[in-house]
């Protein structure tokens, strides 16, 4: 069995991998859904868009479910505190997500235009709202969440839903929404043709520029706010609870990891490289590489935020010492170990059959194909 500290570190990475997997896979579905009313000029166009993701949206959504399950198993403190504290934010995401499975599955089951139009808006809401809220939640992590733990480790949240919607966090929301929209736009550029493809390429270019500008502003803004610093903590290789450490706040502390290890600056730099790749490859028609470029941007944006926060996962503005970190919010040594084996065995299998599914369904989705297979498609 690996030692406890190494396992804690690995699980921080694995949660990161799941979030990145979610952003790349479910992200491009959400991007397509967000772009549905923007790029789909008529019903057939919108069906082309939906059918590029039709065989895959359900499998991709499991990245989100798995991230929830993995946080439950590996970081029970985080699962309990974050989801009960951010109650209405999470319910908003869930309610929005409800529209997706039914929207995809039911939309084209009836020819009535009003019926289809309603579901199109449902798919849009089910895509854009979660994409926005995820970023808003991340932004609030940088500010610290107003919660505390009592002696029995019961968590209490003292803030309101509306306080989450502050300008700083909304900027993060704009980043995540743009990031996933970009992911959808490069995917559509690869899987469609003609006018729709041209519109998708244009959307991808605009999203790239907006993303990089917002990402840069956010980086500057983060350097101006207080970050969190662990003053003292017992041996992180042992069993801890979150109240055993001392935490203070300090200006610019979210840059401490980057200052300590300058090589980490490559991570945020990757977002600009990914963006440049998108712009260059869309022009030259290498749409698959453009999709790789936007996926690199997903990797970069999520890791950049994660590294800045590390080892904090859920900083507490109410009682800083109750902040949840990768060292003291985890499950037991045994559970982390068992779950690591589960992840090591099943993740490659999942990636393999997902890749196979994409290969089976590869190729452009055309208007002609939709008309010919009216009854068999979404």
């Amino acid at each position: 069995m690996l030692d406890y500290m190494t396992l804690k570190l690995i699980w921080w990475l694995l949660v990161g991998v799941l979030l990145i997997g979610f952003a790349i896979m479910d992200g491009h579905d959400m991007g397509v859904g967000t772009l549905l009313p923007v790029l789909g000029k008529d019903d057939t166009d919108r069906r082309v868009m939906i059918n590029t993701i039709a065989p895959h949206w359900d499998g991709n959504q499991v990245w989100f479910i798995t991230a929830g399950g993995a946080i439950f198993a590996a970081w029970p403190f985080v699962y309990a505190t974050a989801f009960s504290g951010l109650y209405w934010a999470l319910l908003l995401v869930l309610f929005a997500l409800f529209f997706r499975p039914v929207g995809f599955e039911y939309r084209s089951k009836l020819p009535n235009p009003a019926w289809r139009k309603s579901w199109d808006w449902g798919i849009f809401a089910g895509s854009a709202i979660p994409a926005l809220v995820f970023g808003v939640a991340f932004g609030n992590l940088f500010l610290g969440l107003p919660f505390y733990l009592d002696d029995t480790m019961r968590s209490f949240y003292t803030g309101s839903f509306w306080a989450l919607l502050n300008p700083f966090a909304l900027l993060f929301g704009a980043i995540s929404l743009t990031l996933l929209t970009l992911q959808g736009a490069t995917f559509l550029s690869h899987r469609t043709e003609g006018d729709l493809q041209a519109r998708a390429k244009k959307a991808a270019s605009i999203a790239t520029v907006v993303l990089l500008v917002a990402f840069s502003i956010a980086g500057f803004w983060v350097s101006r706010i207080d970050g969190y610093v662990i003053q003292s903590i017992p041996d992180v290789g042992t069993t801890l609870n979150p109240l055993m450490k001392e935490v203070t706040r300090a200006p610019g502390a979210w840059f401490a990891n980057y200052n300590a290890m300058p090589i980490l600056w490559l991570v945020p730099a990757l977002a600009y490289i990914g963006g440049a790749l998108v712009l260059a490859c869309l022009r030259s028609g290498k749409t698959l590489i453009a999709f790789v470029g936007s996926s690199l941007a997903c990797v970069s944006v999520i890791l950049t935020a994660g590294i800045a926060l590390f080892p904090f996962v859920l900083p507490s503005s109410e009682l800083p010492k109750a902040s949840l970190t990768a060292w003291d919010a985890t499950s037991s040594h045994m559970t982390l170990n068992v779950m690591l084996w589960v992840a090591l065995i099943f993740t490659p299998i999942v990636v393999a059959y997902t890749g196979w599914a994409y290969r089976v369904m590869s190729g452009k989705v055309t208007r002609d194909f939709i008309v010919k297979n009216d009854k068999a498609l979404y």
């Binding site: 065989p55 895959h56 929830g68 439950f72 999470l90 039911y106 089951k109 609870n241």
Partner: protein, 511 residues
């Protein structure tokens, strides 16, 4: 302190969202195997009608599946949103099967779901059949992991309390996964799903036969459903008995409530077929009994004594007192980890700590607990008898009815007399809701019967809820029920429409 209204509302929300979810799950579990059987016949015989059957019933499968996914998303997050202290207290154990379910089963079924619908022209016959098989495997694996999680709540094995983190922690992963109670519950539950899927196909096929439409299609579907359903219902009944045996071993309070057994009887105990339950005086005013039957079924012996409700409550009073000792010792230990005397007291009483937590409902500081509070906490350890007693009997009655229905359907299928008996065909059609009724009632017996615990013997429901406001709970219940009801209406509308259209719906030119 925890607001009791919040706890009750959280229970209501969990029960409604879980039961809504379980409208769709059983049909998925059962129908997917029927699709696999139909497609296997198609691949073996090459007859196109079986492909048509797979695709048509597949359409209905998809309409149902979408809502199963929708309502399922909630379940993965609801422990955190509404049962935060539960999630903290047992997440170290309970989170594992949930995460494994997502990674091992849910990915598989969801990926194959897409290929099932859109892969017909892109995969070979055998390739597509393999996809359908993996889809079936994924849905059923998903059920086994959820039942492992639920089985652990019923019989929490392989865990120990850690005073530093103030929670239960995993000590034996194999015990969690191979929990015998969970295995029996899994087969009982998926087999109930097979019955739901079979009766769905049987009932709709019966309707086509009554209307004289799609005859060849309907007869073949009817026969497959009748055979599959007969196996399913036999599995349900057999494993229900197995599950009952496990309950008798691990949850005496649930068994005693289900059987309205107030007093301990000499072994083997008699079985109340029906009884007039008097909760206030803790007795049955009258009952219709079969001597010795309960003891034989529940313990599979003639000598093992089953404790009655009165005795269970008396024993548990001692456990509550012992649990209070554990909690007091724990507080001392946490202030001064070097206190050996407190450690020894804690070790001695730790098995009863959950019972000590029960009294916190009446006295947050357990030192202040009065004898009346302790008696009340012990009284709480047996759920209300009448709802348990009657719901169990309705479930069993429905199961027996369905056994008769499938046996006769199977018999007429073999004799080739399906179409002659219109009365029976009507009975098949109108019986479609029966499996759902039995399944909902079954979950009620399992979950209400575990009260006052979320994790049996370990964590009271009362302590498990999140620290939320009543207003938040009222809002979210309204949101869930409103959303789900709306989606359910849409789903039923499409389901009826597509079932009425029949296999013609697959044809390109038909709107």
């Amino acid at each position: 302190m925890i607001d009791p209204t919040v706890v009750e509302l959280s229970r209501l929300q969990f029960a409604s969202t879980a039961l809504y979810h379980f409208i769709f799950v059983p049909l998925t579990l059962g129908l997917v195997w029927i699709l696999f059987i139909m497609e296997s016949v198609y691949v073996i015989t090459g007859k196109p009608i079986y492909k048509e059957m797979t695709q048509f019933w597949g359409k209905l499968f998809g309409i149902n599946f979408a809502l199963g996914v929708t309502t399922g998303i909630t379940m993965e997050f609801q422990f955190g949103t509404n049962w935060a202290y539960y999630s903290h207290y047992v997440g170290d154990i309970f989170g594992a099967p949930l995460a494994i379910e997502a990674l091992m089963a849910f990915f598989l079924e969801s990926t194959m779901f897409g290929l099932f619908f859109f892969g017909w022209n892109r995969l070979s016959k055998g390739g597509h059949l393999a996809v359908t098989g993996l889809l079936a495997l994924g849905t059923n694996l998903s059920a086994i992991l959820i039942l492992i999680a639920n089985g652990w709540m019923q019989d929490p094995v392989g865990a120990v309390f850690n005073p530093i983190t103030m929670r239960m922690e995993l000590t034996d992963f194999a015990a969690l996964i191979f929990n015998t109670g969970a295995q029996a519950k899994f087969v009982h539950t998926v087999a109930a799903g097979y019955v739901a899927g079979a009766l769905f196909v049987l009932g709709i096929s019966a309707w086509y036969l009554l209307k004289g439409r799609h005859l060849e299609f309907a007869r073949r579907s009817f026969r497959i459903a009748a055979s599959f359903g007969l196996i399913g219902i036999m599995g349900v009944i057999f494993m229900g008995d197995e599950s009952g045996y496990h309950v008798a071993q691990t949850q005496k309070s649930k068994l005693a409530a289900v059987e309205a057994m107030w007093e301990t009887e000499p072994a083997p105990a008699s079985f109340n077929i029906i009884a007039g339950i008097n909760e206030a005086e803790q007795k049955n005013d009258w009952s219709l009994q079969v001597p010795q039957l309960l003891g034989m079924i529940a313990t599979r012996s003639t000598t093992e004594v089953l404790p009655g409700i009165r005795e269970i409550r008396e024993t548990n009073q001692e456990r509550v007192k012992s649990g209070i000792e554990a909690i007091i010792a724990l507080e001392v230990m946490r202030k001064n980890p070097a206190d050996e005397a407190a450690k020894a007291t804690f070790e001695k009483h730790r098995q009863d700590m959950g019972y000590g937590l029960l009294v916190q409902r009446y006295s947050p500081d357990v030192r202040q607990a009065t004898p009346e509070m302790i008696a009340q906490a012990a009284h709480d350890t047996v759920p209300k008898v009448a709802p348990m007693f009657w719901s169990f009997r309705i479930m069993v009655g429905l199961g027996v009815m369905m056994l008769g229905l499938f046996a006769f359907a199977f018999y007429s299928g073999i004799r080739g007399t399906i179409q002659k008996n219109t009365l029976f065909l009507k009975a098949c059609l109108w019986s479609i809701p029966l499996p759902w009724m039995a399944i909902m009632i079954g979950w009620f017996v399992a979950e209400y019967g575990r009260q006052p615990w979320t994790v049996f013997d370990m964590l009271p429901t009362y302590l498990s809820a999140s620290s939320l406001s009543v207003a938040s709970l009222l809002g979210s219940i309204a949101g869930f029920v409103g959303f789900y009801t709306l989606l359910l209406i849409v789903e039923m509308y499409l389901m009826f429409k597509y079932a009425r259209l029949g296999p013609a719906v697959l044809k390109q030119d038909n709107a």
